[in-house]
Symmetry: C2
Amino acid sequence: MKDKIIKFRKNFIGPNLSISYDDPLHLIKSKNQYVYDHEGKKYLDAVNNINHIGHCNMYVSKKMITQSKKLNINSRYLYENMRAYTKKLLKYFPKNLNVVYYVCSGSEANDLALRIANNYTKGNEIIVVDNAYHGHTKSLIDISPYKFKNKGGTGKKNHVHILDMPDGIRGKYRYKDNNWIKKYIQDAKNLIDKVSSNKRISAFYSESILGCGGQVVLPKNYLKEIFKKIRSKKGICISDEVQTGFGRVGNNFWAFQNQDVIPDIVTLGKPMGNGHPIAALITTKKIAKKFNNGMEYFNSFGGNPVSLSIGESVLEFIEKKNLQKKSFILGNYLIKELNKIKKEFPEKIIEVRGQGLFVGVDLVKKGNPDLPDKKLAQFIINHCKKLGVLISTDGPYNNVLKIKPPIIINKENIKFLVNCIRKSLLRYK
Amino acid sequence: MKDKIIKFRKNFIGPNLSISYDDPLHLIKSKNQYVYDHEGKKYLDAVNNINHIGHCNMYVSKKMITQSKKLNINSRYLYENMRAYTKKLLKYFPKNLNVVYYVCSGSEANDLALRIANNYTKGNEIIVVDNAYHGHTKSLIDISPYKFKNKGGTGKKNHVHILDMPDGIRGKYRYKDNNWIKKYIQDAKNLIDKVSSNKRISAFYSESILGCGGQVVLPKNYLKEIFKKIRSKKGICISDEVQTGFGRVGNNFWAFQNQDVIPDIVTLGKPMGNGHPIAALITTKKIAKKFNNGMEYFNSFGGNPVSLSIGESVLEFIEKKNLQKKSFILGNYLIKELNKIKKEFPEKIIEVRGQGLFVGVDLVKKGNPDLPDKKLAQFIINHCKKLGVLISTDGPYNNVLKIKPPIIINKENIKFLVNCIRKSLLRYK
């Protein structure tokens, strides 16, 4: 059957969708932090952040079933759970971020953010961080260096301006450089000045931790300084929390809070419905009011009662099980344990980084940051799979192990995961 | 509670989303072709085509529940129901349309179509029909005259070219004009020639029945002739079946088939998951192969096993209950009954049009097509609501009654619906 599915997909499914692993996984079942293949083998899922509070979560299922037997309709009608869920969701935001647009995916949210920003600022220039990925719509590919700079991309458009990724490992300025953070910030400010000297800035987009950039945690004050500069030029600051939101980073519910900033727009996605297609954009009254310029924004599925009941159950489950705190504690434990391995393999691991359960392991040759080791990363994820753990790779050189498990993972799981990575490193020749 | 919800929405939900009816509906329950408000009042739903095979359909629910307890994951893994559903879906298409991309919404599908067309043709020029709406992403607003020409719109972009709507009632050429269809086609051909004389055409987008245009059925040979011309200029023909697909038009499963054409790309949405966010794009191997240029297309939720099981159950239910045929028979009955009313109110109804259960009633003053009667349309939908039927309005003048009920509707329902429209007309002063 597995070969049949592979063959079928090659023939009848859009071909530019690669399947994970050298030997793809044929899955039959998933439950909590585990998935099961066609031979009954069990894997610890340490990478699928979409299934945020566990695969096939029963609490979510129950709420979904109840609602889908009761009422499903579109948002041109009134129903109570739009109020109930929205209230609950907005509690997690700074007070002035209090208008919600419901959509179906992070891409729809980021695309809408672009429309809202252009409308508000009457500007068109977009500032992004290098290697960023903000979604798959045509307009978002244009502002995603991860896409337009790479294979199949059509290059940078004139209205897009790229800030260097503030990467202390192999970026333009490094940890060892004096004031390396300030230098990134100064360069960014210079670029913003240059752009705004003859054009109007619309928005600055930033993931709060750089995912496709290689799980790069933004240095202290980075967003604070850039936001200040963007705002001095009347631009809008957009935090893309599609990957990082909903408690994953542990110390805060949203990763932008770790940077001590308040964005003008926040976009949400992946974990919001634990696998169900729900996403949202949150902004201020002032910005929303200006967007209400006579053109309707209607989203056929966005904010339907079933999606909202699923979203609500996800928030409730995170609260009930104290998962944000768990993410914080277990994330720290994971990073600590990975750092032990780093000590054991100083030539291979140059950095373990992350916040909460959003973690990256940067792999190199000979301890040299300029020799990112994609081959090793590939070996590890495939060997870990053999050992029963799913992780993946990311970063412009595909040399960073990407670890972002369902946040219901436990300490034993983490020990097992770290041990599998260690075994893979030992095995690698 | 109703006032509370209205007040809450005004404060905390994106304001450019208007709620249906002068006195909005607070819904508590929905079942099959009916919805129920907070006072227990029952309404026949004759407008929500998203809930295609009936609100809270139990057959769909059961499949969804089973799958969501078993496995949910993203499409980077193998699972069997992607093969099962895709096979089933492709059976409804001409043989050469046999590659599927799964997405979450009609907008995502049409946006992807744009990327695929631009990539295939290396062109950028888009031809659309006047008053078309193809979705809410930034790029799609640009190719939707219904949006960019109207309030809040920023006007037509240079790469967009508008064909006159082939509307025999109040268009440039009318039924009474000799060869009115040929004239529309000739104008279209001339425009395409003009555009292609110095620029490269990417795609021609067309809804197979013009929804926002006012439920306008394309005249015979229209798409056939335009497709031929577009292809002679190496452009791609895209049929937007987001509103019209899945058996609604009765005589065929897709509305483009009524025009005896085979598009290069077909986009699906709204009814595909009976309210669940699933959508798709179908194209040829040749086009898909070229799009596979090194850039991945990954959609976080698109094609997940739960969405696919829902999609599959929708197809199965349509087949089991013979709903396409039912749509055909009941659609004809509806149009026949509405035409009786037209005879009774020749000054007010200038045309009843549609295919299957996708029907429009064009309202005017004094039997004059150039006096579209928006006020009457508003009165009728609000009065029908009082009488217990939900319908809506559409068209550039908002004077067309839009009727597109769940296709499980029965003959008694149609009698009731038509009678409510008649009563509203009698009541109108």
